[in-house]
């Protein structure tokens, strides 16, 4: 090595500043794409669903409000993850902006991680905003019902009133919803990473999105296929290997649908939450690594 080389500043193998630059840039790009319209649709859905509920009891009303909100949240974050990620890298390749970025001292790994982090940040913001909207509506409805209950029961003894109010409160919000929302977010993260992986070898955005929608549906069936594969041995070998392929290639998305049960009052143990979260992070990491691997071999 010559003196001249030594004079050049030492290169850092991984730089948070560089990743952060790409992340904020990606976030800017995504916000300019008006993806936040999804949030507007969510708000409309929240308001719309309350029209249905006029003639139901408060337990029914709260349950439907929670179901609709969290179900929509799950769908919208997943959809957002797929649609926002699908075009991220192909667009850069097509516009050749990737040349200018990778011609700087930016490892391809950082580029991938930066892009993905941008999407994950977008998803986090969307999830937070949707949660806030949902909680606000739930709180307003809860207050209204509490008020109504107090008015109706003004003559009843103290104990009964307390009982009734407790019943209203407990059917409105249960704390277990929050870990449920975290899991919804992690599911969206894994879908984003998987979309990124698919987009590194897909030829068009449409292809990526179609493949991801396919994966989304099969992913919810993966558990059924997997258990069948591992427990039934009476099937023919063709069916058997098909099931094995489904079980190995697709992620188990059904595992991440904890809210369905949480909403109706099932308590989620900390261990289950932690394991699910770890699985989600594990999937996300692996798909990111795979995306990076394919991207390294890519002819730009």
């Amino acid at each position: 090595m010559s003196n001249e080389t030594a004079a050049i500043t030492r290169h850092r193998a991984f730089s948070v500043a560089r990743v952060f630059a790409i992340t904020t840039n990606t976030l800017t790009e995504l916000t300019r794409l008006k993806v936040f319209y999804v949030l507007l649709i969510f708000a409309l859905l929240l308001i719309g669903s309350s029209i249905f509920m006029a003639r139901l009891t408060f337990q029914q009303e709260f349950q439907i409000l929670k179901d609709v909100s969290l179900g929509a949240m799950s769908i919208f974050t997943s959809l957002l993850a797929i649609v926002a990620t699908a075009r991220l890298i192909p667009q850069d390749l097509e516009d050749r902006t990737v040349y200018t970025i990778l011609a700087k001292p930016v490892p391809r790994f950082e580029y991938i991680v930066g892009k993905l982090t941008g999407v994950l940040l977008l998803l986090a913001i969307s999830t937070l905003v949707m949660s806030a909207m949902f909680l606000a509506v739930l709180y307003i409805r809860e207050q209204a019902v509490l008020h109504e209950t107090l008015r109706q029961m003004s003559a009843a003894p103290r104990e009964q009133i307390d009982d009734a109010l407790r019943a209203v409160r407990s059917s409105a919000l249960n704390i277990d919803i929050f870990p449920g929302i975290v899991i919804i977010y992690l599911k969206a993260c894994l879908l984003a990473a998987l979309t990124l992986f698919v987009s590194t070898f897909a030829t068009t955005n449409i292809f990526t999105i179609v493949v991801m929608v396919f994966i989304y549906f099969i992913g919810h069936l993966q558990a059924t296929a997997r258990e069948y594969w591992l427990q039934e041995h009476s099937t023919g070998w063709i069916t058997h290997s098909f099931l094995a392929l489904v079980a190995l290639i697709f992620p188990d998305l059904q595992t991440f649908n904890l809210v369905d049960d949480i909403v109706v009052g099932a308590a989620i143990p900390l261990g289950l939450f932690a394991k699910t979260a770890v699985l989600g992070i594990f999937y996300t990491t692996i798909y990111t690594l795979l995306a990076t691997f394919v991207f390294y071999g890519k002819e730009l």
């Binding site: 179900g71 109706v264 289950l272 394991k275």
Partner: protein
Amino acid sequence: MMRFAYHAAALRRSVLVLAMVLAFGVMKLPGERALFVQHRQLHFRGVEFNLDLREQLGQLGFIAALSGFRSIVADVLFIQAHVAWERTEWSRVLLLFRQVTTLQPRAILFWDMAAWHMAWNASVAAMNDRTQPRLALRVKAQREYFALGKDFLERGIKNNPEKPQLYETLARLYKEKYKDHASASEFFAKAAALPGAPGYEKRFAAYELSYCEGREREAYQRLRQLYDAGENERLPTLITRLKFLEQKLNIAQDQRIPDEGR
């Protein structure tokens, strides 16, 4: 013919990626299965997606239920059931509630509503059915609806053994519809034993027992215990039942509870 040979490098890479995906697939299996087992134990994911469910829900509902819309589909069906009830279409109510509870077996509310519609609403409607002149058949229909309600509650309990509400409803069903006080008492007691049960469950269990021929002593002991527990439990019904049993069991005067209004 296509010539693959040149693309050997690209092909090798694709095969490598596929191998990595499969290897990762093998790696993730134990974790996925462990979670699956835990879900089962905790009665999470109470739904098994099978052909039966698909037949029930239709293609579209099935796909929606599969893709994270499960609870929303259940809600939609529930609202439909609500409408069917307003129109007193009982067989439709039954069908819809079967779907709702299959989709969302952890929702106490749905089991409870299903049982209530069957055992309390539909049964009464069947008894008052003017199109059926024969009493025997009306009674038969009524009993069938009782049984349907009971069935919903039993399955609901199986799916949610840790929640007291359905035990209580089942107890009420036994008490009000079957006049089976022993079973009613048993289920009130079961509800009372669960965490989060309201205080009255224990009392109700004892009341029901007081109606059972041959179990008066046991009932008396339980009621007395409640009475001794404090002022809060000394409600009019409790005192009436206790006095009734004191009479029936010939309890010694000095051990009896004091008279009202003393």
